[in-house]
């Protein structure tokens, strides 16, 4: 009798995390204690299960791995396939990448931070051979070539990235979109999300995904019943995205949505959440309009932080009255994943925790955003702001694996809370220091412009705690969900 590593699993290791087991084309990654991992490696060497080369402890561990359905017994020696063999990546672990595969878009959103060009403009320019990379009029972003994209895929594969979310511009606009999808599949990188405006989420698109055995979430912007077209700048966009939500539900593709809150759609929030719930949308994130890029032209539609928070406070009881129709995230103010509890994303830790060693942002530590221009930044807001972008490397000049090894990028995403407190003495003595933990780096980057101090405090998070919003929402929730502490 021998052990066999089940076909879907592969042995992988990263700098500081050398004992990984990943499941093929999935987001599953396990890191095993070294003694268990060593037993697993030996078991994968066709050593007979009853061999004296295994200690009693190792045999027990291997029995556990069989129970965990990582290993199975085999009557014949079962060596690892080439794909399963141990592979050591030269860099620190990065779980996932949000990747903007184009800066082009078929919407003309009034708040677009990219100032994305229309596809028509881009094609005209390409036909005129003015710009080989379809550089838009603003010159801010462009569409990488297929060759560029395949190189990014190779770099992600070489760094051991496990999952990817595709975004743009409008990712589905690319005629070679499924060539990129196929390259990702070949590289064993799972596409978990396609962020889209929904205009091209149609039967053909879903057929192509289904044919490849993929069922990513379509995360689509929806900016309010009766308000969507205005913000998107395209007549019929609302009808099209609602049709896309319905289609995804019919076809069994999960959906999520983003809602950009501004003066014109505040009153549509409740109706919109209900409608999205009815359409099978599973998650909704709401954030207020951020005045940058194209949004500078509609700055008078922006709402203040207080207006945003008050809107949430007013809306939350209605959300429960409507039966909590989906998983809802209201900025950092509130999160609900059903009727049996709630969370406050602004609250990062318990106040009594010893948090000094915690990463400043757990999200940034595990996810990278690669812009259409190739900038590797810790999150989408940092990619949208020059103040965030200029600090970080470009994948066309710096290998992804290098960026994840002894670099400024790595140092930044591995910044610890104690470093933040040393940088912000006022936060260090604040009564909410651990709960707030400095707030969100992306918000700091997107609000403070090109001269941004990326370690500055997040004023939204600060106001949430120090101006009483935390107390207000928790007291209100005690009334709404009295059984929840």
């Amino acid at each position: 009798m021998y052990y066999k590593l089940k076909d879907d699993f592969r042995l992988r290791g990263w700098e500081l995390l050398p004992t990984g087991v990943v499941r093929r084309l999935s987001g599953n990654v396990d890191f095993l204690p070294p003694d268990i991992y060593r037993a697993l490696q030996k078991a994968c060497s066709s050593i007979p299960a009853d061999s004296a080369l295994f200690s009693a402890e190792e045999k027990k561990m291997l029995a556990e791995l069989c129970e965990a359905e990582l290993l199975e017994k085999s009557e014949t020696p079962a060596p690892l396939s080439d794909a399963q063999k141990y592979r050591a990546y030269p860099n620190r672990f990065l779980y996932s990448v949000h990747w903007a595969i184009t800066g082009n878009c078929n919407c003309r959103c009034r708040h677009c931070y990219m100032s994305a060009p229309t596809r028509t403009e881009a094609l005209v320019r390409a036909q005129a051979q003015e710009a080989p990379l379809l550089r838009p009029p603003s010159g801010k972003v462009n569409e990488p070539t297929l060759s560029d994209c395949l190189d990014v895929v190779r770099q992600m594969e070489a760094a051991g990235v496990r999952t990817v979310s595709l975004t743009g511009g409008e990712a589905l606009l690319r005629r070679d979109f499924f060539a990129i999808v196929d390259a990702l599949i070949d590289a064993d990188i799972l596409i978990v999300t396609v962020m889209s405006n929904g205009l091209l989420v149609n039967e053909k698109t879903l057929d192509e995904f289904e044919r490849r055995g993929l069922r990513p979430e379509f995360n689509m912007s929806f900016d309010g019943v009766g308000c969507h077209d205005w913000l998107r700048g395209v007549p019929g966009a609302e009808q099209a995205v609602l049709r896309a939500f319905s289609l995804c539900r019919e076809r069994g593709f999960p959906t999520g949505a983003e809602y950009c809150l501004h003066k014109g759609n505040l009153s549509a929030l409740r109706e919109s959440v209900k409608l999205l719930g009815e359409l099978g949308c599973q998650t909704l994130k709401v954030n207020r309009l951020n005045v940058e890029g194209e949004a500078l032209g509609i700055a008078d539609y922006a709402i203040t932080r207080d207006e945003e928070f008050q809107t949430y406070l007013d809306y939350i009881p209605q959300f429960y009255e409507d039966g909590a129709p989906l998983s809802l995230m209201l900025s950092g103010f509130f999160h609900c994943d059903g009727t049996d509890g709630f969370g406050i994303p602004f609250v990062k830790n318990e106040e009594g925790e010893d948090c000094g060693d915690y990463c400043l942002c757990g999200h940034a530590r595990n996810y990278m955003y690669i812009t259409a221009e190739g900038a590797m930044v810790p999150c989408i807001p940092m990619g949208s702001a020059e103040g965030g972008r200029r600090h970080f490397p470009n994948i066309r000049e710096t290998l992804l694996a290098d960026a994840l090894h002894d670099s400024y990028y790595m140092s930044f995403i591995d910044t610890r809370l104690r470093d933040y407190f040393a940088h912000n003495p006022g936060c260090a003595v604040c009564e909410y220091r651990n709960r707030c933990a400095g707030g969100c780096r992306g918000r700091v980057a997107s609000v403070d412009g090109s001269e941004v101090d990326l370690l500055a405090r997040d004023e939204d998070a600060c106001a949430f705690f120090r101006q009483g919003w935390y107390d207000r929402v928790t007291k209100m929730m005690e009334k709404i969900l009295p059984d929840i502490r």
Partner: protein
């Protein structure tokens, strides 16, 4: 130098099914001829001396019992799993609970605490729950 032969012997076992089957047969034969628990440390060493070491020598990869032990210790030392790194990639400031003494599950299982939420049996993906609470543009 013979210590390196241990690794080469493992590699050869993985590549040579006949050798693995021969080792299996020798193991069975030893178990039948010797009484006592195979999990007993002394019996195990006796089996290694009687089976593994001669077999390794036979295939041109000789090593001693001590070298075998040293090789295994070296492999464990090489696996420098950083608890701190594990803590950070398992959710940053949001640490998933790690039940003590829960066997292999005591290690971080990524994919839980990685921004995935489940509703109605389907997995939805959220950028924020992994630790960030930032605005998502677009």
């Amino acid at each position: 130098m013979a210590k390196a032969n241990v690794g080469k012997f493992y590699e050869k076992l993985a590549q040579d099914a006949a050798l693995a089957e021969k080792l299996n047969a020798l193991d069975k034969d030893f178990a039948e001829k010797n009484e006592g628990s195979a999990d007993d440390a002394a019996m195990r060493e006796k089996a290694v001396e009687a089976i593994v070491i001669p077999l390794a020598k036979e295939v041109g990869l000789p090593f001693t019992l001590e070298e075998l032990k040293e090789y295994e210790q070296d492999r464990l030392k090489e696996m420098n799993l950083s608890e701190d790194e594990l803590d950070q990639v398992a959710g940053g400031g949001r640490r998933p609970s790690r039940p003590p003494g829960d066997g292999i599950n005591a290690c971080a299982y990524l994919g839980v605490g990685f921004g995935r939420t489940r509703k109605n049996g389907k997995v939805a993906f959220c950028l924020i729950l992994g630790g960030s609470d930032g605005p998502i543009a677009g």
